[in-house]
Symmetry: C2
Subunit: 361 residues, 2 copies
Amino acid sequence: MRELRAADLEDIAAGAAVLGTGGGGDPYIGKLLARVAIERHGPVRLIALDELDDGAWLVTCGAMGAPTIVLEKVPSGEEMLMALRHYEAVTGRRVEAIMPFEAGGLNSCLPIVLAAQTGLPLVDADGMGRAFPQLEMETFHVYGVPAAPVAMADEKGNLAMVETADAAKAEFMARGICIRMGGQASLVNYPMDGATAKRVSVPATMSLAQGIGQVLRRARAEKAEPLAALIDFLKTTHYGHAECLGSGKITDIERKVENGWSVGIVTIAPFDGGEAYAIRIQNENLVMERGAQVLAVVPDLICVLDSDTAEAIPTERLRYGQRVDVLGVRVPPIMRSAEALAVFGPAAFGLGASYRPLGGG
Amino acid sequence: MRELRAADLEDIAAGAAVLGTGGGGDPYIGKLLARVAIERHGPVRLIALDELDDGAWLVTCGAMGAPTIVLEKVPSGEEMLMALRHYEAVTGRRVEAIMPFEAGGLNSCLPIVLAAQTGLPLVDADGMGRAFPQLEMETFHVYGVPAAPVAMADEKGNLAMVETADAAKAEFMARGICIRMGGQASLVNYPMDGATAKRVSVPATMSLAQGIGQVLRRARAEKAEPLAALIDFLKTTHYGHAECLGSGKITDIERKVENGWSVGIVTIAPFDGGEAYAIRIQNENLVMERGAQVLAVVPDLICVLDSDTAEAIPTERLRYGQRVDVLGVRVPPIMRSAEALAVFGPAAFGLGASYRPLGGG
């Protein structure tokens, strides 16, 4: 167990932006909400998976919706708590710990808000090891935990609950509700006990986010190369491999909100003058191609970083003319099994590419 | 209290089709489900509003969705019971009586199914006095009863729950869920006590449906004019006025499913050779016009009946070439107050026409 304090939030948010792979919502807003919550309620207890009691009842939590919408429809900071209380009221079960369902973007910080508000321990793990655009794209689901009940709340206090045996149906129904809540909602889902959480979660991803943030901050302070430092650091983690996939200038962005997601394509003209890179987006960056060549594809992380600072740029902040490096990160083994790839590999997104782990398996 | 038996269902379904004003879902399917339920569980206790204990806790129930979809996605007959049990599980309240939220179409018969399955008394009343396409279009809402919690179920056992203070938001969110349940869902809503039900409900509408069915059946058996008999009968009820708005042959039907509703326009060429009638539909028949003249408009009932049999034709069964009479029925006073017209008068449907009760106020 260690305490998360307001001073930790900068690094966590910066790292979460990298793990967000373009999505997960802008961590800036989550960081502000987490700071206010910690200042008001005190520090948050962050516990490792193996510190969790096998019998402890936990829920996972986060926001769903199009990240572009979060910029205009700002969370109140109370909706996650409302979703949790709704879950408890409906099921009659008391929640003893919470875990992020997603390690990226806004969704690394919002669980900190909830942990501060409730005083519950926050489990240092998640079910995506990054950000993904759909609720069933969770190691929890891959390894047999039902997504439902899904308790949902919006910033106006509207509540909803979905019960279904099928994780994809839970996603489909919750997405419909999310759209009617204005395109952005907070939710609590995948209830499970501690023993299950240890089996099905991607470990230590809050610490990973914080580590990424620290490495970037220190490299900048030391006038070192932040991207190189980040790649070196990631090789020491259970992710195990990272590389620069390409560098260039953004020359085109197609972007729209479709079925409740931000979708689009970003074109990057490489500094080496060769064929342009194309990154396909569904909230997150899904695949990076150069002509017919697939440079990286889900579930591996594709992170667009500012060339100067190595700061991650979420898709909704991509602009024409930005100079960027694209970082590729291999996911840990729990996310590369055949069962996992069936749920969040290329085919699950309708992509024709086949998955080959960056850096080899 | 009187018992509803399988032998009563023909008349109720025939009358419910008239009160459905084109919508509410085809009562044929509801009738079959009600017959099976009564044969399996025994007759249903139908109680008048004033037989209800003031302290009894009741919920209203029915199906929502596009009637056109019910023809292909047939209810299992269990979904209303699942919605009720979901309501009870979530709220911890035991339900002691049930009431239809809508007097028309499928939604007169489905509450009979639920009453047979549960053994609960069925209250002879509803909140629309007819069918309307939206959940907030209820006298319950008009007179201050919250629509939520709304418990929903589909035929596959998927469940959902909406909690919101605003009836229109409850409709909007439940409609989104309904669409994701395949365009048709069963639900339980407007929980209230008996004293409230007496104040806010349209009384005796199950008996009214049965009375309409009886009058039509007897008139046919006696080779009398069923439409004339029906008009005479309706004048003796608390609706108080009915008339034939026009007769002719259907020459055009525009129909599509939009935002979860069946919407369209029916054109009827009158037998007198004059200008055509146009009826505008949103699940139900909303307004009947002849050129610039408004012949009838919501909340008054506009019912398209077969010219030979006076059988009501739901909008999804309208066909080119059908010969029809159009019946107009004035709604009872509880549905004509200024508050009621604000919720389900012409403006609530975006219609420019102003409401003038058929037959005068």
